[in-house]
Symmetry: C2
Subunit: 147 residues, 2 copies
Amino acid sequence: MTDTFDDVYFMKKALQEAEAAYEKGEVPVGAVIVVDYRIIAKGHNLTETLIDVTAHAEMQAITSASGFLGGKYLKGCTLYVTLEPCQMCAGALYWSQISRVVFATPDPHRGYRAMGTSLHPKTQVKEGVMEEEASALLKKFFKEKRD
Amino acid sequence: MTDTFDDVYFMKKALQEAEAAYEKGEVPVGAVIVVDYRIIAKGHNLTETLIDVTAHAEMQAITSASGFLGGKYLKGCTLYVTLEPCQMCAGALYWSQISRVVFATPDPHRGYRAMGTSLHPKTQVKEGVMEEEASALLKKFFKEKRD
């Protein structure tokens, strides 16, 4: 049981958030923030529901985690998110000095790397955890939008 | 009187917001969003007060303007902000497709241009409006912090 709380475990929780976004007709992206193997914040994309381009999953999770911790820096925290962060979210993560970012599926067009945005130099990045599942949910959403 | 509602007029309003941030011990940055010569949203930096790195002046103004307009796109709007936006705020402005961004003083270290972030290709940018006043307020704040 030592591997229970691994990256796959927490990405599954982020995927549950993405599914909650999907159920609301939102682009299905979900995020959780973890410190010491404990989820301290969750969020899913609500840009349509809240009529607000800033309401990405990561932004809500960052705000929520800071509130929980009582401090605006997320050192020691890991963000799990189902899609590579955009430049806005990467910019917020930069300010938070978060220790680690794990994302499932890359975003070759609007992802922070393609756009040229910088995370904090101290932030470690891992990609590809549960990529297939996260990508399948996004593809399903956009296919249904088109049809 | 035809020049009353010009860029200087609205930047003065953004500077009033920056002064409100200063009074709260926040890094003094303020913003307003204008459509058809009318201010529809205001914001000032509240990152310390709200314990939230996402609480920049621009982010609050974007959220507020979208709520006022009932739509998440800020086409036809101008953002006036006293400091060059960071990459997070530029990323939010990118998603909003805002028509115009006017800022007072450049941020050569953390501004979106130095960081490599992109605004939307349709967004026009003007800098240097009330630069001296905005810069003086920031310098006063940081000098007092150091002393």
